[in-house]
């Protein structure tokens, strides 16, 4: 069972357009992280959100944590070709087995065309 669902799975847009990526779960997270990954490299942390309803801005990127801490969104304004990559949400917790696991979302592959 995938605990973190991301949408859309793929996104191809023109430079200058805006976009939003969603990360949804039926579980409550104490914190959620967003990462961006380039092919063949490790994910790079973009932001950590902790408080329900929290909004964080990182230049053209805006991150929001849902009030119930079950979902999050990433909004990119005026996308640039340099934003191209795999965007991943992730969070940790104790699931049905009782043991701790850190779970990644299904990923959103973004391509920004010049």
């Amino acid at each position: 069972t995938q605990l973190l669902e991301q949408s859309p799975q793929f996104l191809s847009i023109q430079e200058g357009e805006n976009l939003t990526v969603y990360c949804n779960s039926s579980s409550v997270f104490s914190s959620l992280q967003w990462y961006r990954q380039e092919p063949g490299e490790g994910p790079v942390l973009l932001v950590t959100v902790v408080t329900g309803g929290e909004v964080k801005k990182l230049k053209r990127l805006t991150f929001q944590f849902g009030d119930a801490r079950k979902d999050s969104s990433l909004h990119i304004t005026a996308a640039q070709p340099g934003d191209t990559g795999l965007y991943l949400c992730a969070g940790g917790g104790r699931w049905t087995s009782g043991t701790y696991k850190y779970i990644f979302g299904t990923g959103t592959r973004l391509k920004v065309l010049a």
Binding site: G40, G42, L45, Y100, K101, Y102
Partner: protein, 111 residues
């Protein structure tokens, strides 16, 4: 400050062999996690160690094992390699709030 380091960068093994991957965390981080990432998919959680104790485990067979040393570095061992073990193996260290800082990964190819 140095980030997370992993060695080796690339590795080629044959089926049935054993492999050991190494990771050094960011200075001051006491937790190390290991992930497997198959091409086209997101990272899958294998293990997390905190203060040399296993804190968490993903859904991987017993062929996968790990340990953490007193200096907080870690090793991931995989026995009886299968073709399906070919992947990018990522190590991450964390301090607080589960935020993971990733190394560049080790690309393992099993022939």
């Amino acid at each position: 400050d140095a980030g997370v380091t992993q060695s080796p960068t690339h590795l080629i093994k044959t089926r049935g062999q054993h492999v050991t991957l190494r990771c050094s965390p960011i200075s001051g981080h006491k937790s190390v996690s290991w992930y497997q990432q198959v091409l086209g998919q997101g990272p899958q959680f294998i293990f997390q160690y905190y203060e040399k104790e296993e804190r968490g485990r993903g859904n991987f067979p017993d062929r996968f094992s790990a340990r953490q040393f007193p200096n907080y570095s870690s090793e991931l061992n995989v026995n009886a390699l299968l073709l399906g073990d070919s992947a990018l193996y990522l190590c991450a260290s964390s301090g607080i709030l589960d935020t993971q800082y990733f190394g560049p990964g080790t690309r393992l190819t099993v022939l």
